[in-house]
Amino acid sequence: MKKPELLSPAGDLERLKIALLYGADAVYIGGYFNLRANTPNFTIEDIKEGVDYAHKLNKKVYVTVNIAMHNKEYEKVRPYLEELKKINVDAIIVSDPAIIQMAKEIGLTIHLSTQGSTLNKKAVEYWQNEGVSRVVLARECTKEDIKDIKEENNIELEVFIHGAMCASYSGRCVLSNFLTNRDSNRGGCSQICRWDFDLYNEDKKLEGEKPFTFCSKDLSLAKHIPDLVQLNVDSLKIEGRMRSIYYIATVVKTYRKIIDEYCDNPKNYKYHEEYEKILDEVANRDSIPQFFDGNFGKEVQYYNGRTETTNQDFIGLVLEYNNNLAKVQQRNHFKIGDNVEIFGPKTNIKFKIDEIYDEDMNRIDVVRHPKQIVYLKVPEKVDKNYMIKCIDKKKNV
């Protein structure tokens, strides 16, 4: 049985390193000409550092170059692709065929972005013939679609398994362009699909208990990992290049466990509801399998407004460990007496905080200041980049 790649988003170098540490086999990142224009993104130097870092771990970095170019981008993109080739990225993720043509000429490995909305085996065959080595399938594909496409083509398939969904077919939404003058297909999406609207039948307003919205629940295929492995899917992709290190660590670690547990012992594999609970704790919205099981009825919609969860239970990041003390960077308020859990890629330690020291080693009771450096007594050895969550804090919805 082939173990699929676990592919994580990474919005910056810190998140890239966290994703790989917590079990991702590969990360995808954005530099220029990608669909997250309003995040910090990676410079060429950052990409090189990320690629070198990943390659030392025998892992991969894919770079998204997935905008629908206008003329001015078309004239600028080639030198960027040449730079990516020089720094040895493992693949670029592309939707515009003109970039595919250039990437072929330059010798880059090409993955077709989900922006290509590839839903059928004939479209996959076309791209295979064009030299694309992997297709990221459209999120509207069902399990049966994936099965048929995989059986009929000799090409790698990548499938989204977790994260937010576009309400539209990818690439078929310009609500941002019309309502906010921001080009959604060049990285400016202002997420109009999350807005509330009034719905009318001609002149009559139709009133439900909640306002009308296009907003969809999120995707989670945690329960369906065995199906995806059996379908011989090559890469399982997590959405969310703008998500935090805490989110990345939690989601990647959870899927790493599920994939490993199933692939290492499929006969005795049992799905643990606890994984779903962990994923729910860091989620913004309810999650469901979406189109995978062929269901896109009313259950896919999310009518709970724009309030989104913040992960206030993430209280600190371990910077180093010495003599029972973890040097910690604060991420949210915590205090003596809090019940916490420190987790690393393969570790979970629960305990009650009873000793905190400031940078001058004075005992303190409360850690209030963002990014404050403190020392925390912990019962077992921990490592750099372990994360601390407060298990007393409920989801702040």
């Binding site: 224009a37 309003n38 905008i67 629908a68 170019m69 206008h70 003329n71 078309y74 939707s95 515009d96 065929p97 003109a98 595919i100 043509q101 909305s117 839903l119 059928n120 085996k121 004939k122 479209a123 065959e125 076309y126 459209a138 509207e140 049966e144 048929d148 496409i149 309400a167 539209s168 077919y169 690439g171 078929r172 939404c173 310009v174 609500l175 362009n177 019309f178 309502l179 921001r182 080009d183 297909n185 060049r186 400016g188 699909c193 807005w195 609207f197 009034d198 719905l199 009318y200 039948n201 307003k205 139709l206 439900g208 009308f212 896109f296 009825g297 009313k298 896919v300 919609q301 009518y303």
Partner: protein, 261 residues
């Protein structure tokens, strides 16, 4: 001047406009989206008899289980000898090759047909026409016309699709909140947008009717009569540059941005 090309709502309307148009663009029944009125193969034949150029929209995203119906329709259209198939899904390019079809193709990935380089990519693959995105500036359209090898279509009149989803967004809302009447419009910040939930999914249209009256560099100027009173549509076609309705230039002079920081 570009050829006057129309998207009509019925055969009757097509006949009525016969002397004012050069080409008909007909959304194919079951395989097109974003046009409330579609045409069967036999209806397309009737329009062909009017002696004008005929292009057929097959512009929905093709799901894997729709490939057979797509193939069947492509074969039927091949026999009609129409002037082109206006496509969205790349499966159509693959099937043209596999089925050895001679019908020309028009690249029309709605909002993604945005530069001359990609138009030339498709031209080199045998796609002779590009139907440009409506989110382009006039300068971009002119540059594409100058540098692309293909012939171009552009929208100059009618409502514009802004959003297409597989989901049944209106039906899902009505089912969730047990509402009996069908939602046909959505409202936000002083503007109403038509919304149409069909068996193929949901489309949302612009709040305005595009109405470009100036000269445009394109081979085909597309006038979309869907959701427009037939009388008004005919009035526009009589002399579109001097029509009495409100001018609306869309994105011609409104360049979109994507980096806001």
């Amino acid at each position: 001047m570009g050829k006057i090309s129309v998207i009509i709502s019925s055969i009757k309307q097509g006949i009525d406009l016969k002397d004012m148009v050069d080409a008909y663009l007909l959304p194919l029944k079951d395989l097109s989206i974003n046009y409330p009125n579609t045409f069967s193969i036999s209806e397309i034949k009737k329009i062909q008899k009017l002696g004008k150029e005929v292009y057929v929209f097959i512009n929905k995203n093709i799901h894997n289980n729709e490939l057979d119906i797509l193939k069947d329709n492509l074969r039927k259209i091949e026999k009609l000898n129409v002037d082109g198939i206006i496509f969205y899904d790349i499966a159509i390019v693959q099937l043209k090759k596999e089925l050895n079809l001679k019908t020309d193709l028009v690249w029309h990935q709605e909002h993604l047909t945005t530069n001359y380089g990609t138009a030339n990519y498709w031209y080199d693959k045998g796609v002779k026409y590009t139907y440009l995105s409506s989110e382009l500036t006039k300068r971009e359209i002119e540059e594409i016309k100058q540098k692309a090898k293909c012939k171009t279509f552009i929208n100059v009149f009618g409502y514009l699709p802004m959003f297409t989803s597989r989901r049944h967004l209106v039906k899902n809302y009505m089912d969730t909140f047990k509402i009996k009447e069908n939602g046909t419009k959505i409202y936000k910040e002083g503007k109403y947008y038509n919304i149409d939930d069909t068996k193929n999914g949901t489309t949302v249209y612009s709040d305005y009717i595009l109405n470009i009256k100036e000269d445009m560099s394109a081979d085909y100027l597309v006038f979309n009569g869907n959701m427009i009173e037939e009388k008004i549509f005919k009035e526009v076609l009589k002399d579109y540059k001097n029509n009495k309705f409100k001018e609306e230039t869309g994105f011609l002079y409104k360049e979109t941005i994507y980096k806001v920081k």
